[in-house]
């Protein structure tokens, strides 16, 4: 079984310094101009334990910064090299374009929490007479309370997006105000972090988390679904 870690600019780098999962040696399959880095394993797919996760990440990171790298999702396996090679050849253009897109950049993750000011919830009337309407009014009040938060998130995002090459649409996951990934040219990472610090200081009600630098997990090509034909 072939376990794939990442795709990168070919020709592939020397891979002797890093070990893959289960301490297996790394190898590369070249499908010019793209190369895939993999290791061979006897048994079924690996578990996403912390150690395996960090191991996979270490392999991906070891391939940069001298070449463009596209991290592959954890758990990607192929029965043999022919199968992997067929996929690489079939989608070569997508992969090349994907590498061009991220070359020289890293991904930075940003999450922002907002401590909402404690507000007296005075607009909850006793349901009594019109419970249905009261329900809708309560939803409306909830929405109105979160508007200033959304405006802040939008502002933060726009400030950061200006320093990035690309960015994901800022989602909000439940209690988080903003959750986004930014593709930042290496040379701009300092400026990005400084801007983030400024934004955090300017707004005492937000707490900012920045992680990275990551390989460009959020900025990989979506390979069109469809299987290559076996020759």
């Amino acid at each position: 079984m072939i376990y794939v870690y990442a795709l990168c600019d070919g020709p592939p780098p020397a891979l002797t310094g890093t070990a893959g999962l289960e301490q297996q040696p790394l190898a590369a399959l070249e499908a010019s101009p793209v190369a895939a880095v993999y290791s061979r394993h006897a048994s079924a797919s690996p578990h996403p334990t912390p150690d395996n996760a960090w191991c996979h990440e270490a392999v991906v990171e070891a391939l940069g910064p001298d070449r463009a790298v596209l991290p592959v999702r954890f758990g990607t396996t192929f029965p043999d090299l022919d199968a992997l090679g067929a996929v690489l050849r079939c989608h070569r253009r997508w992969l090349q374009a994907g590498l061009d897109r991220v070359r020289g950049c890293v991904e930075l993750g940003v999450r922002v929490l907002w401590t909402a000011p404690a507000e007296p919830r005075d607009e909850e009337p006793a349901p009594g007479a019109a419970p249905g309407r009261a329900y809708l009014l309560a939803r409306l009040a909830e929405q109105r309370r979160s508007e200033p938060a959304r405006a802040r998130a939008e502002h933060l995002h726009r400030q950061l997006a200006a320093v990035a090459a690309e960015y994901t649409r800022p989602g909000d996951r439940g209690g988080q105000l903003l959750s986004g990934a930014y593709l930042v040219p290496r040379g701009a990472v300092g400026a990005f972090r400084r801007r983030l610090d400024e934004l955090g200081r300017a707004d005492p009600q937000v707490r900012v988390l920045c992680t990275g630098p990551w390989p460009p997990y959020h900025f990989v090509p979506q390979i069109p679904l469809g299987e290559p034909m076996h020759a």
Partner: protein
């Protein structure tokens, strides 16, 4: 995640990326949360049948008749 002791934000962020992002090659992604696999399989089967009916978009190669990957 409960057995990690103090919160490991780096690990959480890493897993968020490794498990949900990154390139999806059309190999066997054998992680399950089984229900998510159901969604992917469903989409793939649907697309394959549409392509069979309408012809493939440029550059996409179809599975041979009778060949099912899953």
């Amino acid at each position: 995640m409960n057995d990690l002791g103090p919160p490991d934000v780096s690990l959480l962020e890493l897993l968020d990326r490794l498990l949900d992002k990154g390139v999806v090659l059309s190999g066997d992604i054998t992680l399950a949360v089984a229900d998510v696999d159901l969604v992917y399989l469903g989409l793939r089967v649907l697309l394959a049948s549409v392509e069979t009916a309408c012809g493939p978009p440029a550059g996409v190669v179809l599975p041979a008749p009778g060949e099912v990957r899953g």
